[in-house]
Symmetry: C2
Subunit: 413 residues, 2 copies
């Protein structure tokens, strides 16, 4: 009897609005290419090691379910933040993983995630080569942060950018409507982004024919100078009644401290040793209120920016689906230790295609916004930056509305 | 020469996603009923007293513009928070207002707002009667808070409820995807509502076939007992890995202090003497983190819940338009000192119609959630509550998308 051709897919790291569209792409392409079973690991590699997995055909019964899955935020299979040890540190973990893979007759292992997840793909494919296992390991990029190298951009970024730009437009209008005469007001928006300012820069998309956009934008790529920040804001207040400023949660002072640390927040450290950042906008709004006497307000987009699938971009959902499918195709054709990427084929009209790169070239490199895509003062993004991200927010995937609310596909255990 | 039949309309108080749909209803109906000029006061009665107004026909050129206006958040004309003095306190202000009204040959004055705005309608119509002026004064209800008496519900509430329920669903999924095994997590959502918990209760709409909904809901109508709150949360953590709790910004302790005051926040008082509330969820998340050792997160829906017109409810937009038009009709037929209300004609299928009430019966009465629409423990709403609000979130008004973002109609000065 020929060996079964099974495939397993997992999701890892912080979710996005379109991470399940990649899952849908994996499932559909695997079925089309004749794979037998398509397993889903629950809570990524962490759940997998506890032998937590499901047969996806028990969850997805129709093309309607696939469309629902594409419109479902968060990780359908559950996610994890788990870093595999180095192979020489703990070989047992690897042996256990490959025992389970063998038991399930897995031919291909697809992992949807960000930088940390590509590290998992790298280690597993290295181990397979060293030990002579023939499973294929493929990575599918996913992160709202857009900080993965070699791919033009990451699935999840476009939808988060669209949500941020839409909400920024709505907030700017809200603030404008409420300011009259000498009652200036300042709104500080806090956007996700530890080291890369792509998402914060996306607030600039709100600058359209019908909206002035935010007045200043501060990314973590530039050292944050609070005196210059105050001066810029005071200058803006001379010209406008309502000033709206977007800041990244990750902006840092010259001495290396995060701005949010000034308020005494930030004491949580996650499994990867990252500080949890929160409170940057609240701190700066308080600071500006005290210094200018204006009414100030802070707004954190918080997890809504990664889970608002009701505002997903069509380009983003479709590309997420495409890279999921491309990973299956690559594995089926014998590739391993690689990540699928998105190549920009054309700017106008915007066109993209799936490419593929050796995961050793990708893992743990963070792609930040080039300094040349910020203005000289470091408080706004340039036209080039905007031209780069603008096509990524185009088109909608209307939610399937049931009784007035978006319907999602949920795991039945 | 016959006296000109002009009309003026203004917007006041905190905006909603559909306050401009009422403005569109006023404009369209005024034109249909043969009014000459339709003026818009800029920044409500405050701007009006500074003679800040526009001819709306310079802004609205087509039915497309009317549709755009219905999809535009915040107050198109600008809003204000201005309380007219009692007539006996400052008659000069009233004389000035009526001078301007006479100069502009105004027959009807329409004011779109909440409790405080209905107070303005009451005073102006009282003054007109006492002094023998023949202008008509009509109020159009508007508030996301749903705290106006006599109307079944308020325009703006349904869209805010839809946004809150949608975002709550998305946040619950996000949190679920990230919790695995003994890593419990708590999310505390902060919803607007000073004294009335209608909006916070709307989070319960997230309880659908595909979502468990929030696990507990705390409204300002019930005294907040932090010990019971902790016990309830600990009990929930025994059963679930991800606990999501919705709290109103206005919840208060038995001694009358707002919960957010415990963190030392809340020091801003607005023109109406209301404390500005913020930080309730952040305080409670910190408290629960310290008491349970769980990872906690707080999310404030902030101004997004009143400005997210991209998630507006069709029922709400249409009703807002209806009450705007009904106010013009009432004024044209000789009514004054009245507010248009929404009467619920039928529950299933849901149907509503415009009614009208004497504004003296309405002003400054806050409608809160009946105690019987909360469970005994005071930590969830009942089926009756849900049946009341559910029809109000039905249907969509798709935004007009231009280059990937919702387009709004903006004032050209």
């Amino acid at each position: 009897m020929a060996k079964k051709r099974n495939i397993i897919v997992g999701q890892s790291g912080g979710p996005t609005a379109v991470i399940n569209s990649s899952l849908a792409g994996v499932y559909k392409t695997a079925k089309e290419r004749g794979f037998c079973k398509v397993y889903g690991m629950l809570h990524g590699i962490q759940g997998f090691m506890d032998e937590q997995y499901i047969d996806l055909s028990t969850q997805i019964h129709s093309d309607l379910d696939i469309e629902l899955l594409k419109r479902t935020p968060s990780a359908f299979l559950g996610s994890c933040r788990f870093k595999l040890p180095e192979i020489h540190e703990d070989a047992e973990i690897y042996e256990k993983i490959f025992q389970i893979l063998d038991k399930l007759e897995i031919e291909a292992f697809i992992y949807i995630g960000g930088n940390d997840s590509m590290d998992t793909i790298k280690k597993l494919s290295d181990y397979a080569i060293v030990k002579g296992h023939d499973q294929k390991f493929l990575g599918v990029p996913k992160t709202i942060d857009n900080d993965l190298a070699l791919t033009d951009h990451t699935p999840g970024f476009g939808s988060a950018a669209k949500y941020i730009a839409t909400s920024t437009k709505e907030i700017i209008r809200d603030a404008l409507g409420l300011t009259y005469n000498d009652k200036e007001a300042i709104t500080v928006l806090e956007v996700m982004g530890r080291n890369a300012g792509w998402l914060t820069g996306a607030a600039a998309l709100a600058r359209t024919e019908d909206c002035e956009g935010p007045d200043a934008i501060y990314l973590p790529e530039v050292v944050f100078d609070i005196d210059k920040f105050l001066k810029t804001t005071k200058d803006l207040l001379k010209k406008k009644e309502s000033v709206v400023i977007a800041v990244s949660e990750g902006i840092k002072l010259a001495d290396g401290r995060y701005v949010c640390e000034l308020s005494g927040g930030a004491d949580y450290v996650d499994a990867f040793g990252h500080k949890q950042l929160q409170g940057t906008a609240a701190y700066l709004a308080g600071f500006l209120g005290a210094e200018t006497g204006c009414k100030t307000r802070s707004i954190e987009f918080s997890t809504l920016q990664r889970s608002a699938s009701h505002m997903a971009s069509r380009v983003d959902v479709d590309e997420a689906f495409m890279v999921g499918g491309a990973a299956v195709k690559a594995a089926d054709e014998g590739d391993s230790g690689k990540m699928v990427v998105i190549d920009r084929v054309s700017d106008d009209p915007y066109q993209s295609a799936a490419g593929i790169y050796d995961v050793h070239r990708i893992a743990n490199h963070e792609k930040t916004v080039p300094r040349s895509w910020l203005n000289e003062e470091g408080n706004y993004v340039t036209e080039e930056f905007i031209n780069y991200i603008e096509p990524l927010i185009h088109g909608n995937y209307e939610p399937f509305m049931v009784n007035g609310l978006p319907r999602h596909l949920v795991l039945k255990k």
